[in-house]
Amino acid sequence: MNVSTILIILLIGAFATYFSGDKLASKVALLFSLAALGCSIVLLNNYNAGENISVINSWITQPKISFALNADGLGLAMVLLTAALTPIIIFSSFGNEYKNSKNFYALILFMSFAMTGTFLASDGLLYYIFWELALIPIYFIALIWGNGDAEERRKAVIKFFIYTLAGSLFMLTAFIYLYQKAGSFLIEDLYKVNLSACEQFWIFLAFFLAYAIKIPIIPFHTWQANVYQKAPTVGTMLLSGIMLKMGLYSVLRWQLPLAPIAAKEYMYIFIALGIAGVIYGSIVALRQKDLKKLLAYSSLAHVGLIAAGSYTLTLDGFRGAVMQMIAHGFVVVGLFFAAEVIFRRYETREIEEMGGIRAQSPKFTSMFLILVLASVALPSTFNFVGEFTVLYSLSQVNIWFAILGGTTIILGAYYMLRMFQHVMLGETNSKAFADVTLNEGISFAVIIAVLLFFGFYPKPITDLITPSLENILQVINKN
């Protein structure tokens, strides 16, 4: 058994879902995503037991492209994140009715397939293919099942698609250029290439364009808020929970080790861009009236901090970034789900029109509160571990970065709690708010359990990711 099993399960699952018909689709999709989760846990065990679970097969002879999937701690952590979030996302959508649901759920599984592939691929071109494949399903999910005015949605989605494709095509050019030097697309061979500082600068920039758009880092974020708002909540969860982690993961896996000199030389600029995202996102979030948009901007702020942590080129920065990726993945899915739960009852996303939910549904309120507090990195949540490590690594580079980056916690607390106050407290809304259903409760409970468990005991994750992050750091520092 090797890592390709997960991919096969998800791909078969996508087809099975499509052929199972509209009624059964959601259940079949859930089943296959749970199977993928089980499979990845088994693989994690095998990996910890020292088994070789990587795959390498030659695929195209000239140019030399291999079907190579390599699972190390970092890759497996991301795969687990994807495998755990996909069933939660699918399960959370059980309360909604979708037209043509067989297509909808098949696309979700297909997207999960492509994202898992991105995290595993260790051949540059295979990685690129998975990276692009992940874009197609989310495009259709947002376009067909999104909400709001159709014309505006069309504009937002096409902008998103062209932006991301544009970025990744430059990455492709960089890969082809590297291939000329290395004679292979395999990551080990690409790591070995010696490039001049000038070449590295351009390679670094080409990769940066792809990742900065996907993550998104200021000033490439303009697609984000609109797409998050217009996409169906499931799409938003996939985008913010997993897909943007593809960009952050790729920074660690591909961008930094392939252009280490450039990464060191321009470190301050890119950290500064990340921090700028933190401050910008937080300030804009303060002014948002739409709940989903507010969460989108808060996500922009958190992701900026993760990116800044990655660009510090320290082990702490890397570790904090990866942990924060996982924590943010769970918390953002939880928050968007909470927004969806409110929308199911009130049919609105305007913060102004909400209020007084606490009096009617204390259960929902407390769960929402935990998620809000996790999002602002309260100690004892997993987010605190991640955010704190990142801030620590920033302070090692320059204390001002840490201070400015720390505003994410202060401003974050301000806008999140203010939002909580408007949405949950205050006057009782004239409309009744039904208590959370069992299904909704299960989704929340799983997310909260993960956040709290790793908040108290992050060791399993740090143990898993640290060796591979050390390897990456070694590649970066070799010259």
């Binding site: 195209i60 002879t61 000239q62 140019p63 071109l125 690129y128 293919i129 692009e132 494949l133 874009l135 197609i136 259709f140 376009l143 067909i144 159709a150 949605r153 069309r154 096409i158 698609f161 062209i162 494709l165 544009a166 095509l169 430059f170 492709l172 050019t173 082809i176 250029y177 291939y179 000329q180």
Partner: protein, 463 residues
């Protein structure tokens, strides 16, 4: 050689069907015949032979491309069944012309003598003129045929003039002899001038900027099936022939001897960039799908011309690119034929809501457009990848960056159509499930994806 004879024989057979009153059977029999020809052609693959004093030279290059042309013709003939339903009396003419056109196409890639080359190009062109004007009561079709004929014969004239000058310089029409004497130090200036004239004529057939002005009007005016033929088969034939001319006459080495290689490369780069950019930017503004695909074809011609910079190594890449492009084109056009069969135009509004009324065909059209835009797993992506790889290897990184930017622009108009299919409400009932159209659409897109999954199958053919 056997292929060529068999194709011509099949064409004559098609004409006889009219006399024998077997019109209903003509499509299946022609398809079977073409499959037989394909098998025959497959048997010839790998042999190197020349026939009739080197008039025809069979090589790997010629057989590989001939196979592609035969496959494309099979699809086009299959589509004819529904397209000519309203003119049952003329169907054998239409099918026969397509088969003769294929004979011209095969001659164009397997010539060993410039006379044969010219013969091939005329057989192909005259068949195209007739097909362009074949909807004879439609004023637009007449206009298209007339325009194409005037411009096309002018281009043929230029090619003929070029051949004469080359004959003047070399004293022979024979490709192998030209290949040898092209390296001699003392070449009269007629040789490069003749070359330029021939290349200009071929660029016209390819519809590369600045010789593209005929394409949008002719594509729009011609009957949709003819447009499909022009934008897939005819374009692929023209670019393959241009490639064969340049490699066959040893143009690169000869120009290098005369210090003209740099000029040649600059010209190719400029034409390629101009074709991509003009084609893409003009396509953004089109509302007629046929016209949009015409401009998209111009931009793809720009991409394919990039192979001329690395002639010695890129025959396989060109074969792959043309196959990917033409298969996607066939799939797209079979959907267009289905959607617009009862309409008098091919505007984008006709495609509204196709995702709801015909999910399968909408998916096929989406896949083919994604392939043309170069999204992974479809062969269009690998075609671009191999092309860019080859071009960067030769040191033209700037050209590749321009090509990448153009790929991004092209997403704009391909997605306009996809959005129209999936996010607009259907405005017409679409009934009927014509088997041959469905089969062609599905088979061609499946072939396209198969090429994407196993690129080595085609890419390594011409090693």
């Amino acid at each position: 050689m056997n292929t060529l004879i068999a194709i011509t024989g099949l064409g004559i057979f098609c004409l006889l069907f009219e006399i024998l009153n077997l019109r209903k059977a003509i499509i299946p029999i022609t398809i079977l015949g073409l499959l037989g020809v394909l098998a025959l052609n497959y048997c010839e693959f790998g042999t190197e032979q020349s026939y009739y004093n080197n008039m025809i030279a069979v090589s790997k290059f010629s057989t590989a491309f001939s196979s592609l042309f035969i496959v494309l013709t099979i699809f086009l003939v299959a589509l004819s069944h529904n397209f000519y339903q309203n003119h049952p009396t003329k169907i054998s003419d239409y099918v026969a012309i397509k088969v003769f056109l294929l004979a011209g196409a095969v001659a164009m890639v397997s010539f060993g003598n410039l006379a044969m080359f010219f013969l091939g190009i005329e057989i192909l062109s005259i068949a195209l003129y007739v097909l362009a004007a074949s909807d004879r009561l439609n004023i637009k079709s007449n206009e298209a045929g007339m325009k194409y004929f005037l411009m096309g014969s002018f281009a043929s004239g230029i090619i003929l003039f070029g051949i004469c000058l080359i004959y003047g310089a070399m004293g022979t029409f024979d490709i192998t002899e030209i290949h040898e004497s092209a390296l001699s130090a003392e070449l009269p200036i007629w040789f490069p001038i003749g070359l330029i004239l021939m290349i200009i004529g071929m660029l016209f057939k390819v519809a590369a900027v600045p010789f593209h002005f005929w394409a949008p009007d002719v594509y729009e005016g011609s009957p949709a099936l003819t447009t499909a033929l022009m934008s897939t088969l005819a374009k692929v034939v023209a670019i393959a022939t241009l490639f064969k001319l340049i490699s066959g006459m040893n143009v690169i080495a000869s120009l290098e001897n005369q210090d003209l290689l740099h000029t040649f490369e600059v010209i190719v780069v400029i034409i390629s960039i101009a074709s991509m950019s003009v084609g893409n930017i003009m396509a953004l503004r089109q509302v007629n799908v046929k016209r949009m695909l015409a401009f998209s074809g111009i931009s793809h011609a720009g991409f394919m011309l990039m192979t001329l910079l690395t002639v010695s190594a890129s025959a396989g890449v060109l074969l792959y690119y043309t196959a990917a492009y033409a298969l996607a084109g066939i799939a797209a056009f079979s959907v267009i034929l289905y959607v617009c069969r009862d309409q008098d135009n091919e505007d984008i509004t006709n495609f509204h809501g196709l995702g709801k009324t015909n999910p399968l065909l909408a998916a096929v059209l989406t896949a083919s457009l994604l392939s043309m835009a170069g999204i992974p797993i479809f062969s269009g992506f690998f075609a671009k990848l191999f092309l860019f790889n080859q071009t960067i290897q030769a040191g033209y990184i700037g050209l590749v960056i321009v090509a990448v930017i153009n790929s991004i622009i092209s997403v704009g108009y391909y997605f306009k159509l996809i959005i129209a299919m999936y996010s607009k409400e259907p405005n017409q009932e679409r009934t009927g499930r014509p088997f041959l159209i469905y089969a062609t659409a599905v088979v061609s897109i499946v072939l396209n994806i198969a090429l994407g999954l196993f690129p080595s199958l085609v890419l390594d053919l011409l090693k």
